[in-house]
């Protein structure tokens, strides 16, 4: 059962990254869109994420609940040493979630109020994945010091370091990339398609640059990233196939295949997460002193893991089909069932 729980934990993280990430990305794309085209981008992304966007963010809740029920020691250490970035991420989630709802449900669509909601929406869409990435980076950065005695090394340096921030920026670029690829398939005219292709290209380039930063800063901070990725076959295969699929994706874009490309983009991001997750497994957080927090040893008692595993397993039979039906229903735009 422990492995079932771990599977759902990673599933929730991957899906939050893909679905929530694409949502954040929509805001990032809006941020990088010129004033004239902003309302078109907003329109397309609202069409795309309106019905599903609350559901997309539920994966974070699922991941958190699995953490504190199944792996309470890891959750409690994470909350203690990464208190500040978690707090900023929460503020981002709050600002973004409410601004998105408010701009749709304000009965009077005033120019000033709308542009106020929009501003909050785009900036928080940037900050939230940045800090999500920083948190993820910190987990593997070996900078968290469980024996720290002073404020800075306990609560600041664990996450405020070059490597974690590079992972944060990389996450932002990936979110934007996912959203742009997704929006290419949602746009309803050629001009917008071309616009979103340009955005996808920009985000792809940024992702490569920030990905490079991640490796360079890993060298500076002595995170043995390259060793881990290229030292085991599964991570290596994941990285290679992801790179190949990136080439295929761009060929397809120029052949005018606008929907299928999102599968490739999702594949690439999943493979990156798989490579990172696999190379560190079973460690969830790696710390400065070499006390690595392992999912296989720091889990809740067996009875709890069993109950949690069954709960998730049965729950997924209700959630996944209905979620699928939700996406499916709103893909078929004009049909009335």
């Amino acid at each position: 059962m422990l492995y079932v729980v771990i599977f759902f934990l990673f599933l929730a993280i991957v899906l939050y990254f893909l679905l929530g990430g694409a949502d954040f990305g929509a805001g990032i794309i809006e941020l990088f869109t010129s004033e004239d085209n902003k309302s078109r981008t907003r329109h397309t992304s609202y069409q795309a994420i309106g019905p599903v966007w609350e559901a997309n963010h539920m994966w974070l809740i699922i991941a958190v609940v699995i953490m504190f029920v199944g792996f309470p020691v890891i959750y409690s250490d994470m909350c203690t040493y990464l208190h500040i970035p978690l707090l900023i991420m929460l503020l981002g989630i709050t600002a973004r979630g409410t601004a998105f709802a408010f701009r749709n449900y304000d009965a009077i669509k005033g120019k000033k109020t709308q542009s106020f909601y929009n501003r909050i929406f785009v900036y928080s869409s940037f900050i939230t994945p940045l800090f999500l990435g920083i948190i993820a980076g910190s987990a593997i950065s070996r900078q968290i010091d469980l024996n720290a005695t002073d404020f800075l090394s306990a609560y600041i340096y664990g996450w405020f370091n070059l490597f974690s921030i590079s992972v944060g920026l990389f996450t932002v670029a990936l979110s934007g990339y996912l959203a742009a690829i997704y929006l290419i398939g949602e746009a309803d005219n050629d001009k917008d398609v071309l616009r979103f292709i340009r955005k996808a290209k920009l985000m792809n380039i940024l992702a490569v640059i920030f990905g490079g930063f991640v490796f360079i800063t890993a060298g500076i901070e002595k995170v043995r990233l390259a060793y881990f990725i290229f030292g085991n076959p599964i991570s290596l295969i994941a990285v290679i196939t992801a790179s190949i699929s990136l080439l295929i994706l761009w060929v397809m874009i120029y052949k005018g295949k606008r929907k299928i490309i999102r599968v490739f983009a999702a594949y690439q991001v999943t493979m990156i997460l798989l490579a990172v997750g696999y190379m560190h497994f079973p460690y969830f957080i790696m710390t400065k002193n070499g006390q690595n927090l392992s999912l296989l040893t720091l889990h809740a008692p067996v009875k709890t893991i069993d109950a949690l595993g069954w709960g998730l397993f049965i729950g997924s039979f209700i959630i996944l089909p209905s979620l699928f039906y939700l996406y499916y229903s709103f893909q078929k735009k004009d049909e009335i069932v």
């Binding site: 019905p51 809740i61 699922i62 609940v65 199944g70 203690t80 998105f100 408010f102 109950a307 729950g315």
Partner: protein, 435 residues
């Protein structure tokens, strides 16, 4: 402000706001479903308009409830890491099921809000019902986790170790039913009266009378029934507190000295130094009767509880009195509504009658906050009754008062924004729903 007090204040303010957003978010979809049902059955467009108008309120409250809930699921760890480290595996089961229920709610909400003219009308209606039902289930599950803190079970606590953990037993701890029932009814009362009050105001101002009269009726029927049933559930809760948390009960009643024919004190200001209540009305034997079903048998007073294990008495007592007073008034107004409905229909359009409901708009939520204060402050100094002290659970990180100020600003801003949006929705009713 020290870090411990700051952490408690931040938790209190987060829960204090979340409880309002989530009560409305879980109850309003059911109002909406009733009006939706009436529209499908009668074809009266007013009901369709009400459904759509309410659905916007639901969407706003769902969004704020979802983010404040996300904040809370992290705050448990951010503020109380030692508590979560031990309690997570024991009382976490309802949280994980709540995760599932909440997920279903979010999916159903997507179908409902964007599903007009897109699906079979009964399927569409059903998704709205599902939003409400899974919302209520989520609420019950979260309250069940809280009730475990009041009456912990499903583990053995030996030499500081938590062993023999049974998460299912913990979920069905002895307080879960009474607390879940009390909170669910409270949510219906508070939301019913609040929604009805706003529509009553619009009727009194003679705006879209047909629309607001029908909306008023749906909301108040829910609210009034819940208000009439609530005292019975309160009695179950109090009896349970007497058994599981005698200190809480004694503090609620400001009952200092154990004595036969234990008196019930109504009102008054407790003087903890002198161990007596000033200006209160004492009814001898009534507390004994309420707890033990006979007038003589003594109820344990605060003198039986060591000083260091006593909750803040004045706060608990006054909050309790506020809850009882408001609850009683709401029950009377509820009864009055049914009298008007069945015997005196002319009252329904009278000014004084409408103003009664306008005045009681915030009552339910004041009572909810007061009741929440009773259950949380009344449990102090414990975070897990009798097992772990709140002060042992707090985060080691210094400077929590900054995050307390920050979240205070966040919640006030959010609430102002929600009120602003709702008032604009109400203002636009005549324009948006004129057909």
């Amino acid at each position: 402000m020290n870090d411990f007090l700051a952490a408690r204040s931040q938790m209190a303010i987060s829960l204090g706001f979340h409880i309002i957003y989530s009560c409305i978010g879980m109850v309003m979809p059911l109002f909406m479903a009733v009006s939706h049902y009436k529209w499908i059955k009668t074809g009266d467009h007013v009901y369709k308009n009400i459904t759509q108008a309410w659905s916007k309120g639901v969407a706003i409250f769902f969004a704020t409830g979802a983010v404040s809930g996300t904040i809370l699921s992290f705050e448990l760890g951010l503020l109380w890491p030692k508590f979560m480290e031990h309690a997570g595996p024991i009382f976490g089961m309802p949280f994980s099921l709540e995760g599932v229920a909440f997920f279903i709610e979010a999916i159903a909400l997507g179908f409902f809000l964007y599903g007009w003219n897109r699906f079979n009308k009964w399927f569409h209606w059903f998704t709205g019902v599902l939003v409400g039902v899974s919302g209520v289930i989520s609420g019950i599950l979260v309250v069940s986790a809280n009730s475990w803190m009041n009456s912990p079970s499903g583990f053995d606590y030996i030499n500081g170790q938590y062993t023999n953990i049974d998460p299912i037993k913990a979920m069905f701890n002895s307080s879960w039913f009474s607390e879940a029932l009390h909170m669910t009814l409270a949510a219906f009362m508070a939301t019913g009266f609040a929604v009805a009050g706003i529509h009553a105001l619009m009727i009194a101002r003679k705006r879209n009378i047909k629309f607001h009269t029908k909306a008023f009726k749906i909301a108040i029927v829910f609210g009034a029934i819940a208000a009439i049933v609530q005292p019975f559930s309160g009695d179950i809760s109090a009896k349970n507190a007497a058994k599981k948390q005698p200190a809480k009960l004694a503090a609620m009643e400001s009952y200092f000295h154990t004595q036969p024919y234990s008196p019930l004190v109504i009102g008054g200001i407790p003087d903890t130094a002198a161990k007596k209540v000033n200006y209160g009305i004492e009814i001898p034997g009534l507390l004994s009767f309420l707890v033990n079903d006979n007038f003589k048998q003594p109820v344990d007073g605060l003198d039986k509880i060591p000083m260091q294990n006593q909750p803040p008495i004045a706060v608990t007592h006054i909050a309790f009195e506020i809850m009882i007073a408001i609850g009683s008034v709401m029950m009377l107004i509820g009864i009055l509504y049914f009298i008007a409905l069945w015997k005196k229909r002319s009252w329904l359009i009278k000014k004084w009658f409408l103003y009664l409901f306008i005045l009681s708009t915030p009552f339910g939520f004041i009572a909810v906050e007061a009741g929440w204060t009773v259950t949380e402050v009344g449990r102090q100094p414990w975070i897990i009754q009798g097992v772990m002290r709140t002060s042992e659970a707090v985060t080691p990180m210094p400077g929590i008062h900054y995050s307390f100020y920050l979240f205070t600003v966040v919640y006030f801003t959010l609430s102002v924004a929600v009120i602003f949006l709702l008032s604009r929705q109400i203002k636009m009713v005549s324009r948006l729903y004129s057909h």
